[in-house]
């Protein structure tokens, strides 16, 4: 016979975790859920509105536009940074002083705070005092990120590439270093071309770091706020206004807490869904026979 002693005191030991999770995740999230289903006028006048805010938010053309911009932006970032990061990692010296020097140089952009990056590029890109903007104009290219939509987009993308390609490169570099020398020797014996070595040895073995790299870069770029805000303020017009900026305007600028809360939850679900899609696709490709 099994005698099961019930000791409810044990629950106290789990309490700190409960509190931590509650305060860090559950309570803030539920507050947002709470706001998203009510219309609040003041402390005593709150009305339950059901999914009304969700319906409104989903029909809002401003949101449609910035969601589209956000996807274009995030996919452009991935399309540039992932191949570029792999390329940089492949070209990096594998040992010696040059190797260490490259690692340090690559790590520098990652250490700079977002708003500083925004400020750097805001000045760097100016036609009058910025080296980059001035040089482009001196070469006869009419470049002005404050008034030209294409220039603004190019600058915002370039800034992100400058800031974050290093992350992908460093991840890939560590992945490449983990490939045993025997694989390269066998490939050399098998007369593999450089492309074949990349395609059949390096790329398959970079898969796990690339999953991390793609997910991190997607989530980060999809939630980007500070850098474009400092650089262009969302302009010219609304051309570089991304989702988080639209949300901030709605929540803080207009104080529309209900729709902003509904929007936040939708935003969160989109990030979750796309990340899940990436992850499942890549893991599935791995398992396929």
């Amino acid at each position: 016979m099994i005698i099961k002693t019930e000791n409810n005191k044990a629950w106290w030991l789990v309490l700190p975790v409960f509190l931590l999770v509650a305060f860090s995740a559950v309570i803030p999230l539920m507050t947002v859920v709470n706001y998203s289903v009510q219309d609040i006028f003041d402390q005593n006048n709150a009305y339950f509105v059901g999914v009304e805010w969700y319906r409104e938010v989903l029909r809002d053309p401003r949101l449609h536009d910035s969601l589209l911009r956000q996807f274009i932006y995030s996919f452009s970032v991935l399309a540039i940074e992932i191949p570029l990061g792999i390329g940089v990692a492949l070209m990096m010296p594998t040992q010696g002083r040059m190797g260490s020097l490259c690692l340090i140089l690559l790590a520098i952009p990652l250490l700079i705070p977002w708003n500083v990056v925004g400020t750097i590029w805001q000045i760097f890109g100016r036609a009058d005092i910025g080296l980059f903007g001035w040089a482009l104009n001196a070469m006869g290219i009419d470049y002005n990120y404050a008034s030209n939509t294409a220039d603004a987009w190019a600058t915002v993308l370039l800034m992100d590439v400058w800031h974050w390609t290093s992350l992908v490169a460093l991840l890939c570099y560590s992945g490449l270093r983990a490939i045993p020398e025997a694989f390269y020797q066998a490939a050399e014996i098998d007369r593999a071309s450089k492309w074949a070595v990349f395609r059949y040895i390096q790329l398959p073995r970079l898969k796990s770091v690339l999953v991390i790299g793609i997910l991190l870069r997607f989530m980060d770029s999809f939630m980007i706020y500070t850098e474009p805000f400092v650089l262009t303020g969302g302009g010219p017009g609304n051309s570089t206004t991304f989702l988080s900026q639209t949300l901030t305007k709605m929540a803080i600028g207009q104080f529309d807490l209900g729709p902003a809360a509904a929007f936040s939850l939708i935003y969160f679900l989109i990030v979750l869904l796309v990340s899940w899609l990436f992850f499942t696709t890549i893991t599935y490709m791995d398992k396929a026979k």
Partner: protein
């Protein structure tokens, strides 16, 4: 297909070697003839793998030349040398199927697809990889992975040579024997030069027609298994080949032969003549346990030895005995006994070898 000539070859991993101990390969001249099945036998760290990598071109020798059919190939990559090599631990391309793995070296050389298919099927047949041919290579067992590794070396029938670097280390013993037979068959069928690195003398002698024994970065003897057994060129070969290895005794000169611990061993007139001309005092005599003669009772030329122990190996016995300060071994028939812990042993002159500075003193006519 090629004859591989290593000409005054030496290799050191340090940039500025200061003495012989800095060399992984000490200066050597060696020829692997076209179509031979060779083994490169030696203990770990003797330079076997280094030598193999120099032949295949994965490593550039610091001194000397590698010649394929009398053409210098030092500067050529493995690709241009057209050489196949199988490594100790299986290397497979795990994103590909077994079929694609085997086809990889052929497709890299732009071999037409129908021929690729025929060749891959042929090799898969020989290595019994057919049941898993279309599976992903990453899910294979260690045995199968190594077979795939070997298969990639074997699909190319136009190679200069196939080099094996202890390829059966990870394979189960019962499969080892089978695969070694397979390699031998493939060798007979295609007449490709094969060099097989191993530290296992049994593996070497079952695979190879001729064995090169390496020790301390040198090939100390190159010969048939029988030659290595009957007249080892170097004390290391005597000790390393055979189970148990050769009995070696440090000796000094005396009238008509050599002596150790008060025991006098007579040498042939020819050896005595040789010995008179040699200044070195580093002298050893060696005799294989198989050739030590055990008498039933005292005779004129037998020494009386104290038996330490006897091992019964089923089909024969190994007797370990003491003669002076030396511990020696002898092989004895299964049904014989050594009475009273006393053995009367003699060393037949024809099997007694004399080593000066560890190298054999050759006799001309025998």
């Amino acid at each position: 297909m090629a004859e591989i000539h290593l000409k005054s070859l030496a290799h050191s991993y340090s940039a500025k070697p200061t003495g012989p101990e800095d060399y992984a390969i000490r200066e050597m001249d060696h020829v692997w003839h076209q179509g031979g099945a060779y083994a490169l036998l030696g203990p770990s760290g003797c330079g076997k793998s280094t030598l193999l990598n120099i032949i295949s071109g994965l490593l550039a020798p610091s001194e000397g030349e590698v010649l394929f059919d009398n053409v210098r190939v030092n500067e050529l990559s493995p690709k241009d040398r057209n050489i196949a090599q199988v490594f100790q631990f299986p290397v497979i391309y795990d994103s590909m199927t077994v079929f694609d793995n085997l086809a990889f070296p052929l497709r890299n050389a732009k071999v037409p697809e129908p021929k690729v298919r025929a060749k891959v099927n042929e090799v898969a047949e020989i290595l019994e990889l057919h049941p898993v041919l279309h599976n992903k290579a990453k899910n294979l067992t260690a045995d199968e992975k190594q077979k795939v590794s070997m298969g990639r070396g074997l699909v190319r029938d136009d190679v200069s040579a196939i080099l094996f670097d202890e390829p059966l280390t990870v394979i189960d013993p019962h499969l080892k024997w089978k695969l070694r037979r397979k390699l031998k068959q493939i060798h007979e069928q295609f007449n490709i030069t094969m060099v097989y690195v191993t530290h296992d003398q049994l593996e070497a002698s079952t695979f190879a027609d001729k064995i090169a024994v390496m020790y301390g970065g040198q090939i100390v003897q190159f010969g048939t298994p029988r030659e290595l057994f009957e007249s080892p060129n170097h004390t290391f070969v005597g000790f390393f080949i055979g189970s148990p290895g050769m009995n070696l005794m440090e000796v000094s000169r005396c009238e008509g032969g050599v002596t150790f611990d008060g025991y006098k061993v007579a040498l042939s007139d020819e050896l005595n003549e040789h010995l008179a001309l040699i200044p070195s005092d580093n002298l050893k005599i060696g005799i294989r346990p198989e050739f030590v003669h055990i008498w039933d009772g005292p005779t004129d030329d037998a020494f009386e030895a104290r038996v330490k122990h006897t091992e019964d190996l089923g089909t024969y016995k190994i007797v370990t005995f003491e003669l002076g300060g030396q511990t020696l071994k002898a092989r004895m028939d299964e049904d014989r006994e050594v009475p009273n812990g006393r053995a009367y042993v003699s060393f037949p002159q024809q099997w007694l070898k004399l080593y000066v500075d560890e190298f054999l003193v050759e006799e001309q006519a025998r």
